[in-house]
Assembly symmetry: D2
Homo-oligomer: 436 residues x 4
């Protein structure tokens, strides 16, 4: 899939950078939807996932609610009921149209919204885009607060691009026909990956968190000190071949390797391999965005939960890194790797370059850090304070981005987070240990 | 909505009646889908319901599986995987394509089948229709067994027409926008309905069950004797106005009026009115196929469970009829009333004609008879034995058809059945009592 | 266990029969509890079961609520809070003590009532017994309504004696130590049972239901006509050996043998044998009231659900009897068989006597009749109307009593009822068929 | 209740300290059980709680499994099946007696174990105590590893003493009679508590974790550096009066005050007050170990979840402390407060002494620190590695002990942990903030 930036005639006098970014991001969403029929865009295959059409509408709702409504004089919504319908979880957004006083519809029934139709949602996107042009033309260069809101909306839409991909991958997998999202030839990466190296790092007092230049989410702030002991970190991600050794050694049947909640999840979910793996006639296949494929043994293992990453690390005599360790290592490294823009939507084997590799892109790396506020953190005032703060419980931090993350969206201080049983994201393993 | 029979050029030499019927029924399904977008046809708003697209595909699958495959030489399926994908519950249908050995996909995930797309399902319908023409042209006039299978397939498709309507009504109701399926002006029926009359019937030995002429389902046979005590039956259905009196008298908060399981259902579901009723600013509205409307007080009450029908009857000092009583009364009456063909999809008030009225059409009438086999019943050999027999437990019989039933589909001996908590069908109340 | 009638000095002037019966029944309950520690009498191993202490208290509550309170002047309860605490499900019993307005405590938390202690519950029994003596001395011979209430209370307590046994059997089975309730040597019945014979019965018009002499529950009335086709009935119950043949033939893995809901129950519960059976080192054991024992192959199969009885019958080319057929056959036969009084609490093999055998006692026999009201049935006024009427839905009728039923409690017209998935009662199979 | 240390004749030649401790701890457990009948000791009122009898048996099992079996030559268990029956969650303990290969019985059915009876469990305790004397007489003074195991067993039993109390409190609360565990007069603490003061602390690099002297659990190690910003901490716990202000201000109905999972818990559990509070006739009562009492407004608020503590802090413009902050503040303070030994089992109001108060005892203080391993942590080899390590996920740390904690059991480095929705422990609130 070609996810190259669009060529658009952007109006002359507007804040050119922001407008260009706006159209690039919005256009990418639509490109990601282009292989999908109206039927496809309706599927919600589990409560945690959302239909593609909903992602298209909700990202638009974000601009309408947080940018156009407060900032554009006399803004007329296309349909005032959308303000209620496409709210995800912002309880402080006032929605007089809500029947029964509900602040927003239940997440689990997003798949039953056939109306507005896809066509109407596309019209909604167009309506908001037109009004955004009006606004970007007139104001953003002189109004840094507005520019910040637009930038937030764009980063929000980029997050939903990744979710749209992981959600549709899950949706297609629940279909017994196992359709492909992208049509691409399968080629087993032939080169062997280099043996895993341990790279040691000094301990001491470090600063982590966003340092102020460029966009960052509130949860990356404030920058603050952490004290680290010396530690080692693996030079690359764990491969499917290495993970298979864990499976073959009975990893899924030895409770002593697992957290208590993790073992319960193994039993309840009958887990015996990563999500999307399937044993057919003695050979392991995996469902990918290009359909069912033989497992590529040199690729990083993917679609595993925190519990599995943790159990693997324990089996391997190591541990997962703290998010602070990860950030210390990643800081200064180039943001290079397999990203959404590559259009492959599948992690790639490590290149044999020496040094630390695969820190960005390919798969999100589970850390052993629970997702909590940084010392001194304060959420933004207003409904936007609900963006991150209220989720700081029962989740673990993941770092580095994946093959479904836009390259421009990721950075060393970026904190992603999911509950520990989550498997449908592109999530994998990098090991750490105490320095020997 | 105009559900008039289609005008089709039916091939000359085929069994003309059966071919005409075939196209009439198939065409009606497509007409019923015509107001629905591809998005709409994806929605499964509860496990018991199915998406419209699935109804279109499954009724086609029925002809392919039970007619074309066994009867048409060298029949080539459009896609052999559909044999698995669109099986509803026939465990004896062999499906070599089934992954994991499953006989058919789980009912609860029908809403996640975005592929085949609506367009592909329409092509599937067309493919099967073309092959059915080939078959109907050549064989049915000389092959009564084949004709019987085709007739069964048509009655099967008519059953799904009703389900398609009740399912899409429920789907639209779960959408906060409450869209309308048909666009029609609302007119409160102005004439008052006549007071309910009790009509007495003699007791004695009767025969019930299908008597052999024309099509009937296996569950209507064999015809057999029943002994009835004298009984009375109400001359018309219970109206919304009468049901409101039950509500106003505290019907939903008096456990002594309810079956034990019924009271549990009231508590668990927070029932305080029929399904689809909503109190807004002191006025009762109801969701109809034409959107939210004020409750029409003279119409029969509808979308109530067996538990509610039973509690109402107890409150009214009466009871529900046995299915045998109902059939004795209905036998010989004309099959007249509001049916699917009327395109209104909403029950109508009783006309003041005197005598027994509203026995057919408008709403299904809950009887107090559990759905069991008639004495001497034997299910058909083969997978078609699963059509009715295996559901003869935990359900109650309903009689008479509804405003969503095709008129040609219903008869005095027809037995519909649903679990007692079911509310999304067009189901209402006719009272009976012991003869005074 | 010796369950012989007690020898009690019954006060001289009272209604001697009723008083004797009263003490015999009350004493039997206490004998049944005598092997149980205070700990044992606390266990509630599933929501449908109740602790033995609760059975002791609730049967006492019944006399207090329905006999002493209305009939004995100046009756003083031992503790007025018990009126609320030991109500099972009578929502019309006024209980001013109920916190939160609840009519009775949730059934599922009966196992958390440690107070009143067993000692206090025994004192409660004694208190009520003393007051009952006062009442029986003075009034019952001249007051037939009171005598009828006492008789109802005694039959109620007999029903709870059976439940007490089946509940404690289940409770002990959930204990990994699998303790025995009675200590008795195991002896495999050595005599072979005779081959199953089919006995044919004429069809025609019959009367069933209680005919008026002696005690009967409201649900056995009114006596009424039924029309039966000629039918055959098996001369004895199905044995464990015969049921094993069904299992060996793959009975639990062929969906075509099962009702749809039954198949779901098999899958959900991982059923592959009767409840309490366990395969150890290739041999089938069963949990009995005397602990784990090898399955006795000539005994009637027991602890099976309606679904299993129905599937077995289908596999055997037969069906289960209608309750009307069963009653027609049983009427006039002696009430002989293995009952609670035998103290064995395990069904016995059929004797080879010729003719119809095992109709009473040993195991309850599933019929294919849903539990519904007889034509013309009216529940009693007052809270006692809740005794049977509100359960007439979603249950099947069982007939004949079991090895845990008091012999004096059962008769040809007696109707027991349980939901179709129920397995913890002593329930088994008698086959019927269409007359050849 | 008098929980004073017992006076026991301890054998002369044994390790006197350890033997004295052993008997003191074991005796305290039995004193705690002395108000409980056999019935009481059976109750398991929710899956997270355990019956008192089980606590008595399991703490004994711990000594048998981890001390007697490996360390006492020719140790003969009283009943080898207890090794399986009273294992809580140690999957690495070999239990050949386990039916079905299970490593230990399901936690949720502990309330169905009526056998062994209470009497038998007491005999089990005595048996193990006698063997422990034999061992303590002979070996512990010369065997530091054994002494460490015994010390662990004693600390383990102390933890279960607290659980036994909180579990029986919950059990009695589910009983509609609301019985009292201890009989003590209620006296509202009359003195007003002093206003809450903020005490500021310097930031910088600190060491936390156990420093090596005396007993500590593995999870308190290793001692390590943390970097803290300057912070403030409240001088005392939040009172019931202060918490009522939060309730009156609509705290339970404003989603913006809550974590997302917390808000879900409020909705699902219909929370509107701390656990055990009840509004009767306009006055707030609370269930205590002495029965229902008016809420004592000056006592610390208690029986609240992490979600409620977090929401209260947000409403109050503050936050909860990090566990590192708490430990820095607590280090060096005397371990004084209301403990289990006081026999009151209810937190006490703060004394007006100035400075930091109530850091130990009375209520556990929720911190905002997820329960994770300290840097460099390694669990013990063997099954004892399961004691703490496998629970390091989805839980929050609590500090300081409660009125149900033995005084000798608590210290500044002690880490307790529970899931964030937990309410049945004696858990309350201390606020922290960023230093102004």
């Amino acid at each position: 899939m070609n996810i190259a930036p669009p060529t658009l005639a952007v109006p002359a006098r507007s804040n050119p950078d922001l407008a260009l970014q706006y159209f690039a991001v919005r256009n990418t969403t639509e490109k990601l939807c282009s292989p999908l029929s109206a039927d496809d865009q309706m599927v919600q295959s589990m409560p945690e996932a959302s239909p593609a059409k909903w992602h298209q509408a909700h990202t638009t709702w974000f601009f309408e609610t947080f940018v156009l409504t407060p900032c554009l004089e006399r803004y007329q919504p296309l349909d005032p009921r959308y303000r209620f319908l496409f709210n995800s979880y912002y309880k402080q957004v006032e929605t007089p149209q809500a029947p029964g006083g509900a602040a927003h519809p239940l997440r689990s029934i997003r798949g039953t919204f056939s109306r507005p139709t896809l066509e109407e949602v596309c019209a909604y996107r167009q309506h908001v885009d037109e009004q955004m042009i009006r606004l970007l033309e007139s104001e953003t260069d002189t109004n840094p607060e507005l520019a910040a809101l637009v930038e937030l909306g764009l980063n929000h839409e980029q997050q939903h691009q990744e979710l749209l991909l992981t959600d549709i991958k899950h949706a297609f997998w629940t279909n017994p026909l196992r359709p492909a999202y992208v049509d691409q030839p399968w080629e087993e990466a032939c080169a062997e990956v280099a043996p895993l190296q341990w790279i040691d790092y000094e301990g001491g007092l470090f600063e982590i968190g966003h340092d102020g230049g460029g966009f960052a989410f509130d949860n990356e702030r404030p920058r603050h000190h952490v004290y680290l002991k010396p530690f080692g970190m693996a030079s690359r991600l764990i491969t499917n071949r290495e993970y298979l050794a864990f499976m073959s050694a009975g990893g899924y049947s030895q409770p002593e390797l697992w957290l208590s909640d993790g073992w319960d999840a193994v039993q309840a979910g009958h887990w015996s391999a990563p999500l999307y793996w399937e044993l057919r006639d003695g050979a392991w296949l995996a469902f990918t965005c290009a359909g069912m494929r033989p497992v590529a043994w040199n690729e990083p293992v993917c679609h595993i939960s925190y519990y599995e990453a943790d159990a693997y690390a324990r089996w391997a005599g190591a541990r997962l890194p703290w998010e602070s360790e990860w950030e210390v290592v990643a800081t200064g490294l180039p943001v290079a790797g397999g990203f959404l823009e590559g259009g492959r939507f599948q992690p790639r084997p490590a290149l044999n370059l020496g040094g630390m590799s695969q820190m960005f892109g390919d798969v999100w790396e589970w850390t052993c850090s629970p997702y909590v506020a940084y010392p001194g953190y304060r959420p933004p005032e207003s409904a936007l304070g609900e963006y991150n703060a209220k989720f700081m419980c029962n989740q673990l931090v993941l770092r580095g981005g994946s093959c479904a993350t836009p390259q421009s969206h990721i950075r060393a201080s970026y904190r992603n987070f999911f509950p520990p049983h989550t498997r449908w994201q592109f999530s994998g393993i990098r090991l750490a240990n105490e320095c020997s």
